[in-house]
């Protein structure tokens, strides 16, 4: 686990009131240390014809963005304004950014060349059957150059070290029938996932950070988040949040949570609907809200709101 203190803040990119995180390291950091997983919304470049498995970026709920800002692990930047301005303003960052792109493309090119050479050696050595070769060629024509992984992180060094972990030539050859023709003399092209080096340094004091508009159920979210639960948007279960005891990669969710105001009337119908649905999907129906009025704890702070939550289980159905 990475230490929380030394790490630079996570950059949340806000565009049209949506909150995105693009850096995979940030995403995994939030997942490991701040029990926030959120929803991947991007098309997978490796498998672009399916929707079951999605890639970067993740879209944070407004609640998640707000919690991270309050914990001082992240900051929100209005990228629809700030990002284009940064691109337009040519500066020394450009140099750095282009170097990163160049590094990645030349790495990709080199790795491709290496694979090709190993392959050639393999074929010369083993004398692979013609049939297989033809098949390979067909496959590689459809997809010339996708067998290269590179780190999304800004520094080239990381990218290179990642390439060191490429498997031994033998297995690579069987798995990667790459381009048989000569590598193109032109430079390769790359689309980075983040504009990191272009956007550093982070907006200073003069640049106001974007605010987050949170829904009314925010106190309940913050409370459960503080207790270490993972939460996903819960609209599919007719609630505000779907609450997991641990990383949803590993665990089923326990609760479907809906936030209420402390003095808000809750209709019986809501309870029945939530309770029955929860029982049906093997979850408990959880309601909660921020305590108001006389019952409120005196030591309530902005960071730790006084929230109480109740779970409702159906005794029989």
């Amino acid at each position: 686990m990475t230490s929380t203190t030394s790490r630079p803040h996570v950059r949340i990119s806000k565009a049209a009131n949506r909150y995105f995180v693009f850096d995979i390291d940030d995403v995994m950091y939030l997942r490991r240390n701040h029990n926030i997983c959120s929803v991947f919304v991007g098309t997978m470049p490796q498998a672009p014809q399916q929707s079951a498995f999605m890639g970067l970026p993740i879209e944070l709920m407004a609640e998640e963005a707000q919690v991270l800002v309050e914990k001082e692990v992240a900051y929100v930047v209005d990228d629809s304004k700030y990002h284009p301005a940064r691109i337009a303003a040519a500066g020394p960052q450009d140099r750095q950014y282009i170097d990163v792109v160049k590094g990645i493309t030349s790495d990709a090119q080199r790795s491709m060349r290496e694979t090709t050479e190993t392959r050639k050696a393999m074929f010369a050595h083993k004398g692979a059957s013609k049939k297989k070769e033809r098949k390979d060629k067909k496959a590689s024509d459809a997809q010339t150059s996708e067998d290269v992984t590179a780190a999304p992180s800004a520094d080239t060094e990381a990218a290179t070290s990642l390439f060191d972990t490429t498997p031994e030539p033998a297995s690579a050859t069987t798995k990667n029938p790459s381009v048989t023709r000569e590598a193109a003399p032109e430079a390769w092209l790359a689309t980075l996932t983040t504009s990191d080096s272009l956007l550093t340094p982070a907006p200073g004091q003069d640049e106001p950070l974007a605010s987050v508009d949170v829904p009314a159920s925010y106190p309940l979210y913050a409370h459960l988040q503080d207790k270490g639960y993972f939460m996903m948007p819960g609209l599919r279960f007719g609630c505000n949040y779907n609450v997991y005891p641990g990383d949803p990669l590993r665990f089923h969710s326990h609760f479907q949570a809906t936030g209420f105001q402390w003095n808000e009337d809750i209709t019986l119908l809501d309870l029945v609907t939530g309770g029955r649905l929860g029982t049906n999907v093997k979850k408990s129906f959880l309601i909660g809200g921020r305590v108001e009025g006389e019952e409120q704890r005196k030591d309530e702070t902005e960071a730790a709101l006084d929230v109480r939550a109740f779970s409702i289980e159906w005794a029989a159905m």
């Binding site: 049209a16 693009f22 991007g42 470049p45 490796q46 284009p84 689309t191 641990g246």
Partner: protein, 487 residues
């Protein structure tokens, strides 16, 4: 497992050959929905060529060797943490797999990548959105392609034919924001932010012959002309609020990209692509025809305030009886409604086409589906007026099973009712999860079962299961209809 139909495991399978979009089988909308609800990883992995983890050597695999499909989601999920190292390791493997797969950077050789330049202001001064389909939404077209390559441009980007030839980039394809962003996500488009005016990249024609305007390319080569943009930059440039020029809302983009991933071809909706409403003569003819075929008008007559609906008397057929019984006016679809144009979220956003050979973006066929995109978090259930306006904005599309000789058959009745007189799909986008709901204008009053009771059994010439029944009743009416095939 079956109950928990949410799958937050967003980690993809590591090694998948890139599908050639032209070869993608088109799923039904229903299938796509089912897939979306329960993404069963194992099923998914096994449906890919070679299966997940250890496919055959001939497969075109990516070099993500440490990730196998098994590690992304190994085994069933647990109820809660029980503090064992086994569980911790399993989770750690999954996370590492996810990290490895998502660390991918889009790199391509120049010959299978398109390069696009971001010129948001190029068409901004255009006053008209274009009257011809070629020039549609020109104000929103913000990315110009250097050259069109590959299958993807079959349905994306347009060359604005109406544009004057002295405008640089007039002969290039221009992309809409959702198209550009989708191509960037796929890795098919390398987006560039130009450093100079558009003339640097596309020199005006008169200067092409001369060696004029040779932009100095320093050590950075192409990078001098413009900065390669990242995915993050593309999102910040293209995702906007409703009504922003040159941008698209996230929910629309997500619906667009999901449909494209599934294999459909999508274009922005425009009334220009709709067939004109049926002309007046046609409706007049239909009206005349209906007058001849059923002398009794459809509108219920005024009934006496008291007394039985059907007065005692001699009735020779069922039809007048049922006409007397009909008290409540029924909805009758009209081809030329006069409802106002739809406003707000419930407006047709996209036309969707099934992938087919010979599809060209310059000559769009009639769309297979019309889709309105709404945001689940900010939109309420549509009011009747909104729904009516939305439906009436779609072309008149009556069920064609009606126009069979011998009148409508009962077997196709449900088909006709399901088809409706107009139809539209509403895509409800909830944080990236899209539900597709189909709405149609149905008219139950148009399916008159009682007309069949009077039909002559021989007249239709259709063999239906109700035939003997008809014959039987016919006999009761004075032996007009005979049993069997008529005499």
């Amino acid at each position: 497992m079956a109950y928990d139909d949410e799958d937050p495991t967003a980690a993809p399978p590591p090694a998948i050959a890139r599908d050639d979009p032209s070869k993608v089988a088109i799923e039904d909308v229903e299938d796509a929905e089912a897939d979306e609800a329960i993404p069963d990883f194992r099923k998914f992995a096994s449906s890919l060529p070679g299966g997940g983890a250890s496919g055959g050597g001939a497969l075109n695999k990516k070099a993500t060797p440490h990730v196998s499909s098994k590690t992304v989601r190994r085994g069933e999920k647990d109820f809660e943490s029980h503090g064992t190292r086994l569980q911790e390791n399993a989770l750690e493997t999954s996370r590492t797999a996810m990290h490895d797969v998502l660390s991918y950077t889009r790199t391509r050789t120049p010959d299978n990548t398109m390069t696009g330049w971001y010129f948001p202001e190029h068409w901004a001064q255009e006053t008209s959105e274009g009257e011809k389909p070629e020039g549609l939404w020109r104000r929103d077209r913000v990315v110009v392609l250097e050259a069109e390559k590959g299958q993807m441009t079959r349905s994306m980007g347009r060359v604005l034919r109406g544009a004057p030839k002295n405008v640089p980039g007039w002969d290039k394809a221009w992309l809409l924001p959702e198209e550009a962003l989708y191509l960037v996500e796929r890795g098919d488009l390398m987006l560039r932010w130009p450093r100079g005016p558009i003339e640097d990249i596309f020199p005006p024609p008169e200067e092409v012959d001369g060696v004029k305007r040779e932009v100095a390319r320093g050590e950075d080569g192409d990078y001098e002309l413009g900065l390669p943009l990242s995915l993050q930059a593309a999102y910040s440039l293209f995702i906007g609020n409703e009504g922003d020029r040159g941008k698209v809302t996230l929910e629309k983009f997500q619906v667009y990209s999901q449909l494209r991933r599934t294999g459909y071809l999508v274009s922005r909706a425009s009334p220009l692509f709709d067939p004109p409403p049926p002309s007046d003569t046609q409706t007049l003819w239909q009206r005349l025809f209906s007058l001849i075929s059923s002398p009794k008008s459809d509108t219920p007559k005024s009934h006496p305030p008291m007394g039985p609906l059907i007065k005692p008397g001699l009735y020779r057929s069922y039809e007048p009886l049922y006409h007397h019984l009909s008290l409540i006016p029924r909805h009758k679809p009209t081809p030329t409604p006069n409802t106002p144009a739809p406003e707000g979220p419930f407006t047709v956003t996209y036309h969707v086409f099934k992938s087919r050979p010979g599809f060209t973006k310059t000559n769009l066929p009639l769309p297979d589906f019309r889709i309105a995109v709404v945001n689940a978090r900010t939109t309420d259930v549509p009011s009747l007026a909104e729904m009516e306006a939305l439906l009436d904005s779609t072309p008149w599309d009556p069920p064609n099973a009606r126009s069979g000789a011998g009148g409508p058959s009962i077997g196709h009745m449900y088909q006709r009712l399901k088809h409706g007189w107009r139809n539209v799909i509403v895509a409800v986008n909830d944080n990236g999860m899209v539900s597709y709901l189909e709405f149609m204008e149905s008219a139950f009053g148009e399916e008159k079962l009682f007309e069949r009771f009077d039909a002559k059994p021989g007249a239709g010439g259709k063999k239906s299961s109700g035939r003997n029944l008809k014959g039987g009743r016919g006999r009761g009416r004075g032996g007009r209809g005979g049993r069997g095939r008529g005499k």
